[in-house]
């Protein structure tokens, strides 16, 4: 007789995570059965072997991993759970792969709230469903109080790459157009304002979202994409500097066309942070031959839900100043957009 498990599941009888939940015994099994299996439910996971056995269509496989540490674990617009799924889905998608299967590894601090864990796992399940991927294997470790900040999640993912693509950060050609699929800096500022308890008139929400649907639509319409990246940590500045360096070309951006929402810009200016250095979790930068840029823009606007309304052609690839990204200001002057240094430290005044 099999027990039909479904999400939401009955809560575990424990209110908080204990060391024994990661020790591999009865309590580990209880945690898996009460929280993880009902939410992630799929035939590959439900076998409960030490590994998931999967078959893939022939062709090239993309494989990626990312670890998610975010404080607070819940923030406006999302939580560490959907972030962990979307992050890995997006890393696969920007390589031209169709994301298929994910693993999920949890490091949880002793004393973490069980209802919060369930909320996070549900949010992972919802994100996986939205992105059309399955979480097929996982692991949980519990560490003593103080050894981790609430919870860390690692996700790895595999996907199958479409044929006939040549997408790489080294593929930029002078004359190409640079596009972004929506407004910049939303995720980083949502987390920062939530972490610091800063309140503004409007709440800044994270843009965490899966990009595979949008990217698939772009590649259906315009297979000749030269480069694609989701500008997460380091923001647009990091992604474009990496592109310019890898391809040995220059990039010129039009400051007026850079989409930054007024509330995000306001928060950035208050804190002395450049929105171009701030993380995004549901945006893609696309570099295509100029003659296809309008088509790509149209596809983004049709396929990226509400976010797509801010999509824009923001600049072009040039022969000049190889390895460097330059911004043209509305006044007609120019400045260099540097690779960000590291941690974003707010300015004094």
């Amino acid at each position: 007789m099999s027990i039909e498990l479904h999400c939401p599941a009955p809560l575990s009888r424990h209110e908080t995570i204990q060391m024994a939940h990661g020790a591999g015994g009865m309590m580990s099994r209880e945690l898996t059965r009460s929280i993880f299996l009902p939410c992630f439910k799929n035939s590959l996971l439900d076998v409960m072997d030490d590994q998931a056995k999967i078959s893939l269509d022939s062709g090239k496989v993309a494989f990626t991993t990312d670890t998610f540490v975010v404080t607070p674990v819940f923030f406006p617009g999302g939580d560490i759970g959907d972030l962990a799924v979307n992050g890995t889905v997006n890393d696969l998608a920007v390589g031209g792969a169709t994301p298929l299967y994910l693993s999920a590894g949890f490091v949880i601090e002793e004393g973490f709230s069980m209802p919060d864990l369930q909320r996070i796992v549900k949010s992972m399940a919802a994100a996986a469903e939205k992105a059309g991927v399955k979480i097929v294997t996982g692991d949980t470790k519990v560490v003593e109080k103080g050894q981790c900040d609430g919870m860390f999640i690692n996700t790895s993912g595999i996907g199958v790459i479409r044929e006939g693509l040549d997408i790489s950060c080294a593929n930029l050609k002078p004359g190409d157009s640079v596009l972004v699929s929506g407004s910049l800096g939303d995720h980083g500022m949502a987390v920062m304002t939530a972490r610091e308890g800063l309140s503004f008139q409007s709440v800044i929400t994270s843009d965490t979202a899966p990009l595979n649907g949008l990217i698939s639509a772009i590649l259906d319409g315009v297979p000749h994409v030269h480069a694609m990246r989701d500008p997460t940590r380091g923001g647009l500045a990091a992604s474009l500097n990496e592109f310019a360096e890898a391809s040995g070309v220059g990039i010129v951006l039009n400051e007026e066309t850079l989409p930054v929402k007024p509330d995000v810009l306001g928060a950035c200016e208050l804190l002395g942070i450049d929105p171009l250095n701030v993380a995004n979790e549901g945006k893609v930068v696309v570099v295509v031959p100029e003659e296809m840029s309008k088509d790509v823009l149209e596809i983004i606007r049709e396929n990226a839900d509400v976010a797509g309304q801010h999509a824009a052609i923001i600049g072009k690839v040039v022969d000049d100043h190889p390895g460097m990204v330059v911004i043209k200001t509305p006044l007609g002057s120019r400045r260099i957009l540097e690779m960000p240094l590291g941690e974003q430290l707010p300015r004094i005044c």
């Binding site: 610091e196 810009l265 002395g272 200001t329 007609g332 120019r334 400045r335 430290l345 707010p346 005044c349």
Partner: protein, 362 residues
């Protein structure tokens, strides 16, 4: 943001720029005092758009840049002690002390927290009665009211575990020092808009008279800055001196009286060491005697810490407008944002970092 947009309007900025070009008949050198203005000038490329005859030099108004090495070494010494929580504005964390910076100290286990105001540090003290909470109280007249208020509030509540490591600076004595220097480089000033919001501009009138210079309180948006420059240039061209307010939407002659009163109540004027420049008489603030319980220098007995500066770094000359960052031999070589030798390479407001970031890499 609509209100701000008006001061970012490119057409309006271009019109003022044309007027500047039309008014200039000979070379002029103007100093913008505030690091926030330097940041905006470089970010918007205003220096590239000005006629060659108008030279801007970046003043000493970046708190991160002028906070002396001794304050950092004292902060590092205090932060290393058990039970101490050091609270600081974010960009102080990367300023090099003699041996390391606060980021490195944090990675070695010191409890160092980034706060946005002194009142936030005060909250940390309330929530952690078993810890000593020390706020690194740096800045100009702009941060002084908040930092004074935190001490006043701590005294009112009897919060004995809160103290401030004070390194507060005053703008007018620095302007006098610059105008008294042998090389008379600076011919007019854009006074710092935020500072004047607090202090007003009365205090600048005797300086303008004594040294016969135009001093123009100026804001931070491109239109603000260009209007300030146009006003200084017009005054210079007609041989006028005096104070002329171009930041009237925020700055009044008397400033914010309540803020000034709080500052006077808690702080008193003292000689202060400026990093790279040296001691300027009566150019800083320290806690008054009746608030000495909240003075971290006394509480932690760190006054004897008096380190020596690196000889390679010429930030002092940069801060006084004697050289541009690119004229320093270490610029972009031994010294970069990843490995700053001097404080102006650290903060986004610092002249060297601003140059490096937006402008002229060596």
């Amino acid at each position: 943001m609509k209100y701000i947009d008006e001061y970012r309007n490119p057409e309006r900025a271009k019109r003022i720029l044309e007027k500047i070009k039309d008014s200039v008949t000979r070379p002029w050198t103007i100093m913008e005092i505030c690091g926030g203005q330097t940041h905006s000038i470089i970010r918007n490329g205003i220096d590239q758009l000005l006629p060659d005859t108008v030279r801007l030099i970046h003043g000493p108004g970046c708190p991160v840049c002028v906070t002396p090495l001794e304050t950092l070494d004292r902060a590092l010494s205090i932060a290393a002690r058990p039970g101490v929580i050091l609270a600081s504005f974010g960009d102080m964390l990367r300023v090099p002390g003699s041996g390391k910076d606060l980021l490195q100290a944090r990675s070695e286990g010191a409890d160092i927290r980034v706060v946005f105001s002194s009142l936030e540090a005060l909250n940390i003290a309330r929530e952690n009665p078993q810890n000593e909470v020390v706020f690194l109280a740096v800045g100009f007249e702009t941060t002084a009211p908040g930092n004074a208020m935190a001490v006043k509030q701590a005294a009112r509540e009897g919060l004995r575990n809160f103290s401030e490591l004070v390194s507060q600076f005053l703008v007018p004595p620095a302007m006098r020092a610059i105008l008294s220097s042998e090389k008379k480089i600076v011919e007019g000033f854009l006074a710092a808009g935020h500072v004047c919001t607090i202090t007003g501009y009365e205090e600048y009138e005797p300086i303008a008279d004594a040294y016969h210079v135009p001093i123009v309180p100026t804001g931070f948006e491109p239109v603000d800055i260009l209007s300030g420059i146009l006003r200084v240039v017009t005054m210079l061209e007609s041989g006028e001196s005096g104070v002329c307010n171009e930041y009237g939407r925020v700055v009044s002659r008397e400033g914010n009286q309540a803020a000034r009163k709080t500052v006077d109540e808690v702080f008193e004027v003292t000689d202060r060491q400026w990093r790279g420049i040296g001691v300027i008489p009566l150019s800083g603030l320290q806690l008054r005697g009746n608030y000495s319980l909240f003075d971290a220098e006394k509480k932690f007995d760190v006054v004897h810490i008096q380190p020596e500066e690196s000889s390679l770094c010429r930030s002092g000359e940069v801060l006084q407008g004697m050289i541009t960052p690119a004229q320093c031999a270490a610029f972009g070589k031994e010294c970069s944002p990843l490995n700053p030798l001097g404080a102006p390479m650290v903060s986004g407001e610092g002249a060297c970092a601003a140059y490096y970031k937006y402008h002229k890499r060596a």
